[in-house]
Point group: C2
Chain length 247, copies 2
Amino acid sequence: MLLSDQAGQTAATKIPRPATLRESVIEAIQELIVSGQLKPGQHLVESELAELLGVSRQPVREALQQLSGEGWVDLHPGQGAFVHVPTLEEADQLLAVRTLLETESARLAAGHAGEDGVRQLRSLCARGIAAVQSDDVDSAVAINSELHALVTALSGNAVLAELASQVARRVRWYHTPVARQRGMASWDEHTALIDAIEAGDEQRAAKIMREHTEHTRASYMEQRESEPVEPAPKPVRRRRPRTPQAG
Amino acid sequence: MLLSDQAGQTAATKIPRPATLRESVIEAIQELIVSGQLKPGQHLVESELAELLGVSRQPVREALQQLSGEGWVDLHPGQGAFVHVPTLEEADQLLAVRTLLETESARLAAGHAGEDGVRQLRSLCARGIAAVQSDDVDSAVAINSELHALVTALSGNAVLAELASQVARRVRWYHTPVARQRGMASWDEHTALIDAIEAGDEQRAAKIMREHTEHTRASYMEQRESEPVEPAPKPVRRRRPRTPQAG
DNA sequence: GGACGGTATGCTGTAGGCAGTCGACGAAAA
DNA sequence: TTTTCGTCGACTGCCTACAGCATACCGTCC
């Protein structure tokens, strides 16, 4: 028996190699942004982040550039990186794009997904419902993302899945704070969606997904409209008060 | 009159600052890939590119990472960067995604575009037709891209436009070699599309755009099916023959 | 009192350098 | 002859250092 054959059967074919610093830094900064420790519009000084994370500036720079490509930070040449300021308009547009991509994914998934795929969907859905029932919002949001990602994967269009994944990551940033609101209704829709996919009914799957994501969008917009967004001072390079610590 | 007011009226509000080396390198490498000087699967050695472009490794590294995010190169941790190998299947999927994004853009554009937008569209279309008639394929392809980009911009959804632009750039890589085939028919469809947008007929605009991009896709697939794709040796790190130049 | 120019400071952009790691090649063993 | 292990070379990933620049501060002039 060849090793490759054996490896193909195990779940973890790749040993968890110590990721590059760059990847670790990317995740760390994402976490800092999502958790609110880095506020929208804030100037991200490379050297400070480097010191904070215990690495040099190089991996930080590379991480910031990748995060810029994914819409997390804005890069102003010669000035540096600033945490992206999410506007209501942009969130609306982003959620509209998500609706578009995921609706198409659902349609394709209904045509492509096999028994195995449906089984995985059901499993995820069950876990999601359990999470909601035990009021575990973080898990519910995570499983929600997994479920949507799986639908796009089952579409059979890798490019579409990749794009949808990119959009979903950004959506999640906006979505997490308001996720508590939707709760159980969302998972009823998931169940109906899986039914449609299993039945191979492309029209119905697409319709359900469209309405589902539109519900999320409406829910988000509703919640955001109520809270007044502070005008957010123009993203200006912060200047450290001159040597405040050295007496 | 304030300076800012005056600047807002001019076309070029920003003086052409010397772009960062990273951006220049990105464009240079893209050009090298599109033009075929860098072949699919080829190992891109940072130091070689740096020397070739006359810069240090750092901007090259950053450029490669951004290009990786856009699908031009594949980054294998610890091994380096390789020019992405476009497969027939991936091209099909990419073109399908483009159809999706641009169809929606056309629909929205029909609802949003004003007189000014339509005027710009007509202008571009005229230039495109002129290019085709004078057999200037390069210009025709470029103007084609501009036209599609303008339609997405007129959709009023910046996120959608940005995504469509990303996809279009990749499509252009696949598309350029086979663009000669479609010629004039493509521009008749453009004209019909603009008519629909001007009339504000969302359904018709969407329908025309869908058929238009599907035509392009069919044309591409047809042409590619005929040419046998060489198996492309697995992307392995090239080993430089030991000191070949030092005589 | 307000505008303007000089100066200082800290940040970004880029270059150079070092250690770790991966792949290829070659010798030795089965 | 085929397989396995050791060695070598080259490249990547990361750190450090330096130059240029943009901004903020502050004194001076109108």
